[in-house]
Structures are given as C-alpha cells and as structure tokens.
C-alpha cells in the first residue's frame, strides 16, 4: 500500500497527546468540519510526524450495527466498523481511511490509531475523566454511570478539565503525563489542550458518603485494565497493554473513590 505523501489538498494537523497527525483530504467541506470539531487540537506550524489520508465515500457504505474490528496483517493494522474502513502502517507512520464526511468515523479512527501508537511506549487511552489542579493531573476512571462526567462537573474553579470521557496517558522520560483530549462524553465539550504529570488515579463508585481507600496493586491493575481502551486483541498488543497497566500502577497511586455527588468530594483530591 502506498501511504506516504500529501494529497496537496485541504489538510488539517490534529495534535492530541503531543502527537501531530496530518489528516489529509481533498474536500474543503471536510476540512472545515475537522477544524470545527477539533478546535484547539488543530495545530499550525507543526511538522506532522504522522498522516492519515481520508477518502470520502458515498453514504451507502454504512452499517450502524457493526462493531469495530482491529487486526494486524502484513505489518499493517486494519480497522473496520460499520461506518469506516482504515489501515495504519506503524512503520511508515501513515494510514488511510475510507468513510463518509462525518466527524464520528474519523474520531473513532483517531482513537484507535492513538491506542496503537501509545501501546508500545507504555501509554494508553482510558475511560476516565481527568483534570489538572495545582499543576498535577488526576484521573477518575470507571465504567459507564460510575460518575466520570459527574465528578468533572463538580470540579472547582481552580481545576482545568482535560476530558470528561477518554483520558490520554503517556509515559515520558519514565513519568506519566495526562493530556487533554477532544474526546468528549456527556459534557459535550473537548478538554483543555494541556498536559500535566499524573498524581493519582481514582477508580470511581457512587456512594452515600465520601470515602477514599488505597487499592492493592493487583486489584488496581485489574480494575484499570477493565477501563483501558483496547481495540486490538493481537497477543503482542495484549501483552503491551498488560505491561503498561502494571507499570502505571507501580508508578502512580491508585485509589478507590466512593463518592456522594456534591462538591465536597473534591476536598479529598489533591
């Protein structure tokens, strides 16, 4: 597959987690859509290290019931869902997407590609809201309805929201950093495009009173693994994600945070 090169068209560099991906399109309308969707994550004056060429297809290529499948074949990752087909070559740092002109498909492809780029380097995306307070990042992870968005809404004025839905974790020089993401949940707004070293991960559970407990490491890894975004189930990728979770728990404090949904919960954080 020839993936390198530019379309010479309406390209947009989307930088999430400090990794700039040039999304290449020949369609001015799609460029406009990307600019609006990714806002502060659109980078200018940045030499993109990665590229995704988007080929817009007709609407008949759409199956809303299909789930995403990701697999490795001939050193390329293949991704298929009802609304897109894509390939990503990690060696070339290039990929190609076939989708209709909508923001949801490219959003999903970007999430998958970022998980594939992060995994060999000890990073991951995780179902978690996150915020920066006093220069430190705090992650709040849990399954659906655990309270990720709730705790983000309750954040005090001196906290900066990185995301209410999907947190971005990178290992940089042996330290873990959380980055803002444009991947929003119920909040409906992208997080602030900043990063900070991670001080703690809180695994959420709604309760009648606020309580915080440090978790045994193995239990923390088990709970974290349940929430890491994990699209590719190829053995080496599974090992990488597993080892990333273990290394993260060894380096970052992990707590069980049972909380009653009002602002007092933030008195326990930090």
């Amino acid at each position: 597959m020839q993936l390198a090169g530019s379309t010479g068209g309406h390209n947009v560099v989307i930088e999430i987690g400090g990794l700039p991906i040039e999304v290449q399109t020949t369609d001015a309308g799609f460029e406009h859509l990307l600019m609006g969707r990714y806002g502060s994550y659109v980078a200018s004056g940045v030499a993109p290290e990665f590229a995704l060429r988007v080929r817009l297809t007709s609407p008949h290529f759409f199956d809303p019931d299909a789930e995403a499948e990701v697999w490795l074949e001939d050193r390329e990752w293949n991704m298929v869902r009802g609304d897109f087909r894509a390939r990503w070559n990690p060696g070339q740092k290039r990929g190609e997407v076939f989708q209709t002109a909508n923001p949801y498909s490219i959003d999903s492809v970007l999430r998958i590609v970022h998980t594939l780029m992060l995994a060999p380097k000890g990073g991951f995306l995780v179902h978690a809201s996150s915020a920066v307070r006093n220069g430190k990042a705090f992650l709040f992870s849990g399954v659906s309805e655990a309270g990720k968005t709730t705790i983000a809404r309750l954040a005090p004025a001196d906290a900066t929201l990185l995301t209410d839905e999907t947190s971005y974790v990178r290992k940089v020089d042996g330290r873990y950093f959380a980055y803002g993401t444009p991947f929003a949940g119920e909040f409906g707004e992208p997080g602030k495009n900043i990063s900070a070293p991670i001080a703690a991960l809180y695994l959420l559970e709604k309760a009648s009173e606020n309580r915080i407990e440090e978790l045994e490491p193995a239990l923390a890894v088990q709970r974290l693994l349940r929430n890491i975004l994990f699209f590719a189930h190829q053995a080496e990728m599974v090992r990488q994600v597993f080892e990333s979770a273990c290394a993260f728990v060894a380096a970052v404090q992990v707590f069980q945070l049972s909380f009653f949904p009002d602002q007092r919960v933030w008195d326990l954080i930090g």
Partner: protein, 102 residues
C-alpha cells in the same frame, strides 16, 4: 505402574505479573483477567511442568501456609482445573522434558 502425579506448566499465551502477594494474569487469547491470591501465586510460580503438583503443594503451600496437606492438595487440584479450563495452565500426567520445562 502408571503415574498418578500431575504436572502443571504456565501457558505461553498469557501475560502475568506478581504485585505484592497477589498475581494478575491476562490471557493473550481472549484478554480475560485472573487474580491469584498468595496461595495461588505460590502454586503458579512453581508451575514449571517438571515438578509434581503434590510436591509443589508440600513445599510451597503446606510449608508456607497453615493448611493440612490432604486439604491443600484437593484445593490445589480444583484450582489447577479451573486455570486449565481457561488455558492459563497446562496439565499433564508426565513431566515436561528439560527443554520444554525451560
């Protein structure tokens, strides 16, 4: 006379890490996750394919934990069967050859 010993070996299709007293294991085949307590961890670590389960129980379980050998062996056999069912351990009536046990 046929051997009644059981030999257990860790599957190659897993990722595992011992954290504190516990071990967490993830199948690379289906991503299922297993948690082993300290007793399970002792058996898991000794699962080299060459040491009989009865000896593992005697040396790693009964010597370290306050439990009768008959009871410990029965519990260990049940534990091994569960892990084997999920492909986490392989079980054999014969010891692995030195090369396999490596």
């Amino acid at each position: 006379m046929a051997s009644t010993e059981t030999y257990i070996a860790q599957s190659p299709d897993i990722a595992a890490s011992t954290l504190g007293d516990d071990t967490i294991i993830m199948s690379t085949l289906d991503s299922t996750i297993f948690m082993l307590n300290s007793v399970g961890t002792a058996i898991w670590k000794a699962a080299d394919g060459a040491t009989p389960l009865s000896r593992i129980v005697g040396e790693k379980v009964c010597a370290e934990f306050d439990v009768a050998e008959d009871r410990a062996l029965a519990d260990a056999e049940e534990f091994v069967a569960q892990l084997a069912q999920h492909g986490i351990l392989s079980v054999s009536a014969q010891p692995a050859s030195p090369r396999e046990a490596l």
